[in-house]
């Protein structure tokens, strides 16, 4: 990862480099220059002192009165603290006088110094690890001249040299001054750099403070504080930045508020949805409950219906049983008495017995018809289909009715329109219907009247009609005759006795066989009951099928 430094630090480093390097360079140059001039000064001074000593030392060499002539020269030279020693050597190289100071070992080395020749030499020498300046030159025998002249003479090697004088000087003072100057410079530079740092710090602060504030602002933004306290920076760019920040923050605040309100709405909607869901579930539960209740009610009522049905059947069975037991005695004894088995009966008694017998038989028929009707209505009436020959049916009926009709001097006229007419139906039921209709015709027709049984075949169905010359049925009551226990008059005369269930059963049986029964009648002239049966039992007829087909002629004579 790349190292990142604070703005202050990088600015400080740059400023320090910018200010420090030139200062150091200039100081160094300045100090070096000063050192150079110090050296030059030391050299000049050394040369001056050396020249003075050489000029005044000829007497001493010549006389070798060292104490008198040479020692004072050396001592005076050594008054200068930079001077380390003065060495007087004879021309043969032996030491005439050594006058020096400082370390003994150094002095010994200086004493042993060998001047390079008979000319004036100036330089640096390494003496016992120390760098010393030296000036060395000959002392000429023939005369004492100035230094310049001395140089000119030196070209003449033939001149006699008395010996050499060597002067040692140390640069220590110079070095001390140098060191002091360096320290001084460094101190100044240091103070200067410190000042620069302070300035840099304050300059950096002007940049970093707003930036830090911005950073803090961002942090607070993150925590949801959208109006952090920001001071206006003086720098144009930073001011722009802060302004932009404030704008962005307020935009963000607006957005967040919007988001919050959306969230709020979303939560509310979710809550509503959950509530709705709950309500829905509640409703489903309620609805299921009510359905279950309804189901239970239905089952209950079903059970009740079944129970009622069972009770009805039971009731009918009981009724049948309880009525048959006394009827057995009534009918049985009537017959027995009529057969005169117990003994003779008078004609009046015989008539009474006959009435008892027919009343008993009437009751029996009533019971049977009630049972039949309830069977039909419960859908439990069994049907047994077979092919019925119309001719034999008519013959059977005629045989059956002959004795009955004779009692009223009535005549049954059978009119079979189609030869070899056969019907596929339940013969027993059809016979029951026709017998019932003929019985009615017999009952409701006057003595000596005629009754017709017409049998015909039309496309799709068979027609059986029973016509009488009886009292007839008023039109408004024609629809009621098929209803149970309906008779024309509330008062029934003996001759018009019926169970009141006969026609109802006729209609039910006809419908069971897929047919239709109709009635046409004129009061005072007679009635015609017509039974229409379908050719195919499964194709049940509708009233409209037969009303259109009936052309009004019927089998009525």
């Amino acid at each position: 990862m790349k190292m990142r430094h604070s703005y202050f630090r990088s600015m400080l480093v740059r400023l320090l480099l910018l200010a420090g390097i030139p200062s150091l360079v200039f100081s160094t140059l300045f100090i070096l220059d000063e050192y150079r001039s110090g050296e030059v000064h030391l050299e000049q001074m050394s040369r001056q002192i050396h020249a003075n000593i050489v000029q005044s030392s000829k007497e001493g060499f010549l006389t070798e009165r060292v104490r008198t002539y040479l020692a004072p020269l050396a001592e005076s030279a050594l008054l200068n603290p930079e001077m380390q020693g003065v060495l007087f050597k004879r021309s043969d190289g032996s030491v005439l006088l050594w006058q020096g100071r400082g370390d003994r070992a150094v002095q010994d080395e200086m004493k042993a110094f060998r001047p390079p020749g008979h000319e004036l030499v100036q330089g640096k020498a390494d003496i016992a690890g120390r760098t010393l300046f030296f000036v060395s030159g000959p002392v000429m025998a023939w005369r004492m001249k100035g230094a310049a002249e001395l140089f000119g003479l030196e070209k003449k090697r033939s001149d006699v040299a008395l010996g050499t004088v060597t002067l040692f000087a140390t640069p220590d003072g110079l070095m001390r001054a140098l060191r002091a100057r360096i320290l001084q410079s460094l101190a100044v530079i240091l103070v200067f750099l410190l000042a620069v740092s302070v300035v840099a710090y304050f300059m950096a602060r002007r940049i970093t403070r707003p930036v830090e504030e911005l950073i803090e602002g961002f942090r607070r933004l993150e925590k949801g504080d959208y109006s952090p306290d920001l001071s206006d920076p003086s720098q144009y760019e930073l001011a722009l930045l802060v302004d932009q920040f404030k704008q962005t923050a307020s935009r963000l605040e607006a957005l967040m508020r919007e988001k919050d309100s959306y969230s709020q709405q979303l939560l509310a909607t979710a809550q509503e949805l959950a509530d709705l869901n709950e309500t829905l579930e509640q409703k489903i539960v309620e609805r299921t409950q009510s359905l279950e209740n309804a189901n239970e009610m239905l089952e209950l009522s079903n059970r009740r219906i079944q129970e009622a049905d069972r009770l009805k059947s039971e009731f009918l069975a009981n009724m049948s049983h309880e009525l048959r037991t006394p009827l057995n005695a009534v009918i049985g004894f009537s017959e027995l008495l009529l057969e005169k088995i117990p003994g003779p009966v008078t004609p009046d008694q015989e008539q009474c017995l006959q009435d008892i017998l027919s009343a008993g038989q009437h009751l029996l028929m009533l019971i049977n018809e009630i049972l039949d009707l309830s069977k039909v209505e419960a859908g439990k009436m069994p049907l047994s289909y077979s092919i019925l020959d119309v001719g034999s049916l008519a013959a059977e009926i005629q045989t059956l009715f002959k004795p009955i009709l004779e009692k009223k001097d009535q005549e049954l006229l059978v009119d079979i329109r189609q030869a070899r007419h056969k019907v596929y139906t339940d013969p027993h039921k059809l016979k029951q219907v026709l017998i019932n209709l003929l019985s009615n015709a017999h009952k409701f027709s006057p003595v000596g009247s005629r009754i017709w049984l017409g049998i015909d075949r039309r496309p799709g169905h068979h027609v059986f009609s029973v016509t009488d010359e009886g009292v007839g049925i008023p039109e408004e009551k024609q629809k009621l005759v098929f209803e149970a226990f309906r008779q024309l008059d509330g008062t029934t005369s003996r001759s018009q006795e019926g169970t009141g269930l006969g026609l109802t059963l006729c209609q039910r049986f006809t419908e069971l066989l897929g047919g239709v029964i109709t009635l046409r009648s004129t009061v005072g002239r007679g009635s015609t009951f017509t039974v229409y049966l379908p050719e195919e039992p499964e194709k049940a007829l509708a009233p409209s099928d037969v009303l259109v087909a009936d052309d009004g002629k019927g089998a009525c004579g």
Partner: protein, 124 residues
Amino acid sequence: MAKVLVVEDNQANQRLMSMLLNSMGHEVVCATTGEEGWNQVQAVDYDLVLMDMYLPGLDGFELCKRIKAASGGRTRVVAVTALAMPGDRKKVMESGCDGYFSKPISLSDFRSRVQDILQGHSDE
């Protein structure tokens, strides 16, 4: 002439049967309950037993079974009952009866069929 036992709890019907059978020339004994009838059958050897099916105590169905079991099927048993609903005849015949008359009886029908049964013909 046959020995006939009539088991019938209704007095009028008992008398009717009795008169009817007498007129046919049979010897008739009457019992009013199933138990009474059972005692009679055990005491006397009857040719024919006519019985109502709904009897107080021991009913006709059970009595018929006992009689048939005791006589080894020799004694004829005929039901004369007010049970006339669909299925009743089958129920009665299944209990072992040789004949079934539903009340009210028709005298001519009764006479001819009883004679048939006594002569060993089974009823229908």
